[in-house]
Subunit: 483 residues, 3 copies
């Protein structure tokens, strides 16, 4: 990872940021952090664009790079009355909107509202990017906005700010993106054949083929059949198509699958029942009469089928349930998905995961990594489940909870029951490439802060805490994701 | 607000109370608190009696002033075996009970049980009232109970302890009470015409006319019709009556409405459906056959109607869901409401608020302030919703959670997703007039303690934290409640 | 309790363990702890084997004493791929398994995985046992495993390590075990007639006779009838049998009953309805057609019946709901219960307990102690209920939450609403006799750490905090459990 700001000028970040204020605990945290600060970054789950690393072209401007595509930013500004259009977000039917604002105007709008992010992780990430990547003044203000903008533009034109150079400068060892089974992975292939040694791999995300409520589900199935030469309108052919495509992803470097379901529900139906369900789902989708319970049952069964295939091909399985996608219907209709309108919901794991866990949870060869947006499940459900089933591991604090307080609550509420070794290190899960080191750095700092408290309270010897810190930062994700 | 005890004698409170123990963090908290300590109090939501300020008569005695009407106090003593009658609470059918205990006897009973409040906010509030308002010795003990009682009695006879004098001494800029649409607001009018400049305003609380399960609902509707000259037995006339009465409240200074529903459920029915529902509710209530789901649907639709009217008349809307009122049926039958038998329940917001939010949540002109008694919803539901919808703001930690730990959890669990600027400052929500400064002071101290940690951990520059502290104490409630 | 490690050698534990790092707060915690460190242990709820104290024979070996029966240990190792057989757990149908590993092999397996317990309470408890009871080196490593094993073996052969000697050395004043109504309590009787003054009492746990879904329910009823000379196939005789058996338990020293139901649901049916339900449950169980809702209704009604009997005979009632027992069906089929496969679930208390509370919750003569595995209910449901109903008290952080962070969250989330005095001190709830002092010591330390923060933040005078510390450690459990 990058140097810690010691050489930076006006925008220097404090070297002790995120460490507890108590001097003795802080000293321990600092020592632990020294062990992990410079370890390579493993980013086993995220949403950066592989095209960047294939083409290695310069990024265009600060607004389209750092603001417009970041739903943490657009949601906060929107909540305070800023129109999405003013941030460069285009309406789906955007013909009548006139010209979008120019990048500097967007940047100035953002600067005028930077105070809204006080106390949020977005502030920490952005300050890091401004100070560490671009060496510009922080905090961002209306007064320095134009100067900052131009400085970033100038840097972006430099070779050192092209995607591959930054990948190396950031100390990234592996970066995973997420693609649909229908994706050709051409960019990943291009990276691999380019001679550049950066390891950018994919993850198999079959939601568009597994969730019958996805718009275009039947067309997706048809395309899935073409790609795999299987009859994807039969249960057997449909499963085989997944096998074929998983093998293709694995061949291109993928080590994991990823599943973003509304709930954690799983099922363990027999073959005949599964086949009947598949056929009912197909027929009713064709007729426009798909029932919600059939869709849910199908997604549930498919998680168990994916676990079965993971036992066959060794791919690690990630489950990310509990978001109500596109809660704001009028806004979704105008702007589409991923503009900040997803909201977490209460999520059951104990009953929901039982069919899958009773089928495959005792398999040591399976790794099933479960995430949550419902923190009340940490100590009540997820830590007890992960502290028992050999297959189950806990994904880190995720999305809304990938933040200093959220990361700390994750450790405080899971460690005593699941231990550290049923967790898998940090995931940045981000589209914001420039913030990846900031996010991993924050996670390492919080883990060190938590460990430092254990040491200061004589609950763990410092030498063991140092080993844990290294394991959390590097060894556990490497092992869990089979990197 | 009042001086901070520096001049007080035996009852002096520690100037650093509620600040973190770490010396560096404490020093920051102290500096932040110095910025907000003396700011005027905005009390935009509470339950004091406007008659006090209209009549400006002396309060009678310590027990009926400080103990008998305070359900925090009666519930704790009752839980430990003290009879409500011994605290001066009269049974509804109280004829056979004999004389109530005299105020000194009640005061002594309370003193004998004061230890029960160790670690609770009631202890903090009472100690503040005893030390700061009355300058008497704390802690209260059986040994000093009589002396304390007499000292308070003597003070209450002084002009400086009349309601208006205390209102001024407490530094209150605005105090909102809560009244039914059927209330004449005569006391508010008397205050306004009295020449006294204290600003005591009402809030429009239509629950008795919106909840068909309220005892006397039909009689309330009839009275509502008389007051507004509308036919409140038609949907159209009923809605118009609300408009008329809201306008009257606004004319008397009210800037907000308040809604205390069992759940957060909202609905967005068409006019015909709403009208049919209204008529079904009327008929079934008349027949004694009202169904729970109709009552819930009607309350749900009325929240959306109230939001529609708020867009018309600019009143801020407050929703306080999630209490199971009068859980203790035998006690409720004997003593009536508000004696400590209300219990929070798990509360869904994501699904429940969606109809209203999809209808009006994108309106920047609407302010909908939502409260909760279910802390698990802070990070999971409420902060994500408030961090997205322009209309939605988060009310502060409320009722059982208006306490040092509760206020801190609110900041820790909402700030990272909603930021500070989707919250609206503090509400005391109290019937206990004397404790209002104590409650606001505690909230300011906890906010400064939280901010001090952010500063000490280098997550926010101190100058920005000072601005946030001032915003939370004064600017945000002023703006959110349109004061 | 035992000396605090000052005399110990290599295995010495730090005297300040579990205290906050801030020096001023730590000094207060230390002073408070000095008040409670040496108070006798009251263990009013646990699962040790009374036979140990009746027979007073030496324990056999470290593995069968400390590892194999401890489900905290077996679940963690199992979750990381260690076979239960390798820990000495025998399959139910274990004939084909070959010989179990010898105790030293088990010990070495455990030592090789000791790092998994970093940050968990098991680590704290084990370190305490190794250092304080056996005076051996900590942490346990593969390198010192054999030496440690032999040292423990040697100690176990000494008279000072027999059950009664340790009971005295541990400073235990009362130790409660838990038995079925069908138990003869012969070991308790043997202890009482032996002349040894150690107070080992039982608790009446009627689950096998109250839960119709228990395997062998009808046989249990038959045996219940024989023991009590009642016709337990009639509702009246069945209830009378409980009365008879409760009286027998009370005569043998029991002061409490214990109820481990899947939910907290209670009911308050009339006699005819209860009788009809009992008969339906009997008939359907005989026919193999028992319905889940009837079983749940019967358990619910029986909690209320048990409360009624508690009012008659003065036994304290404990309710422990919310565990999904034997969640891992394949593992349960092979190894039976209590091997780590129980998982907490979301648990409602407000609606569930209302029938019982509305019937008996206002009775000051009843003590109903409620536990939870769902921490989200602490501040939302349980503290408000306990802070109101005279009969209701809060049991301490339990099972998965009996840990430093869990115990602290319990105080942080219940105290402000329920106070300290609606709680009942600590329960170790353990089968692991050797860890009892470690668990009570941890609870005392955490309570002192919490109180020290209140003192350091000027929320409670130190003298009052010291009284609370003593109350929590000794007076409250003594009083609540009528010891």
């Amino acid at each position: 990872m990058m140097s810690d700001g010691s050489a930076a000028g006006v925008g220097a970040l404090h070297p002790d940021r995120l460490f507890p204020a108590d001097p003795r605990t802080r000293a321990i945290a600092r020592a632990l952090y020294a062990e992990v600060r410079a370890l390579p970054i493993l980013s086993p789950h995220g949403h950066t664009d592989p095209r960047w690393f294939a083409a290695n072209e310069p990024f265009t401007d600060p607004a389209s790079l750092l603001l417009t595509p970041d739903h943490y930013i657009t949601r906060m500004l929107y909540s305070q009355g800023v129109a999405l259009e003013a941030l460069g977000v285009r309406a789906l039917d955007g013909d009548g909107d006139g010209e979008p604002p120019d990048p500097l105007a967007i940047w100035r709008t953002f600067a005028a509202h930077y105070f809204l992010f006080r106390g949020t992780p977005t502030r920490l990430w952005l300050d890091w990017v401004l100070a560490e990547v671009f060496g510009v003044e922080t905090p961002l203000t209306l007064a320095n906005a134009e100067r900052t903008f131009e400085c970033i533009c100038a840097h972006l034109a430099e070779p050192a700010y092209r995607p591959r150079a930054l990948f190396e400068r950031f100390g990234i060892e592996v970066l995973a993106t997420t693609e649909s089974p229908l994706d050709t992975l051409e960019h990943h292939a291009a990276i691999r054949t380019s001679g550049w040694p950066g390891r950018v791999i994919s993850a198999y995300r079959p939601d568009p083929l597994v969730d019958p409520e996805t718009p275009g589900f039947l067309a997706n199935l048809a395309r899935f059949g073409e790609l795999t030469h299987q009859d994807t309108l039969t249960w057997r052919g449909y499963l085989e198509a997944h096998r074929v495509r998983r093998a293709f992803f694995a061949q291109q470097g993928a080590t994991s699958t990823d599943h973003g379901h509304p709930t954690a529900r799983t099922a363990d139906l027999g073959t005949c029942e599964s086949e009947a369900l598949f056929e009912r789902v197909l027929r009713s989708t064709q007729a426009g009469t798909l029932r919600g319970d059939d869709a849910e049952a199908f997604r549930a069964q498919m998680l168990t089928e994916m676990a079965r295939m993971s036992l066959e091909d060794g791919m690690v399985m990630q489950v990310h349930p509990g978001a109500w996608r596109d809660h704001n219907a009028p806004l979704h209709a105008r702007f589409g998905a991923n503009i900040g309108g997803d909201i977490p919901t209460a999520t059951d794991y104990v009953g929901a995961l039982r069919p899958l866990l009773n089928r495959f949870g005792n398999e040591r060869a399976l790794t099933l990594i479960v995430f949550t947006l419902d923190e009340s499940s940490y100590s009540r459900e997820l830590a007890p489940l992960a502290g028992h089933y050999p297959a189950l591991k806990l994904g880190p604090a995720w999305w809304f909870h990938d933040s200093p307080e959220g990361l700390m609550r994750f450790r405080e509420q899971t460690t005593e029951t699941a231990g550290f070794y049923n967790t898998v290190g940090f995931n940045d899960d981000t589209r914001a490439f420039f913030s990846i080191p900031a996010r991993h750095d924050a996670a390492r700092r919080i883990d060190c802060a938590f460990l430092a408290r254990l040491v200061a309270e004589h609950r763990l010897p410092e030498s063991e805490a140092a080993e844990v810190a290294r394991d959390l930062a590097y060894r556990l994700p490497k092992q869990a994701y089979r990197l």
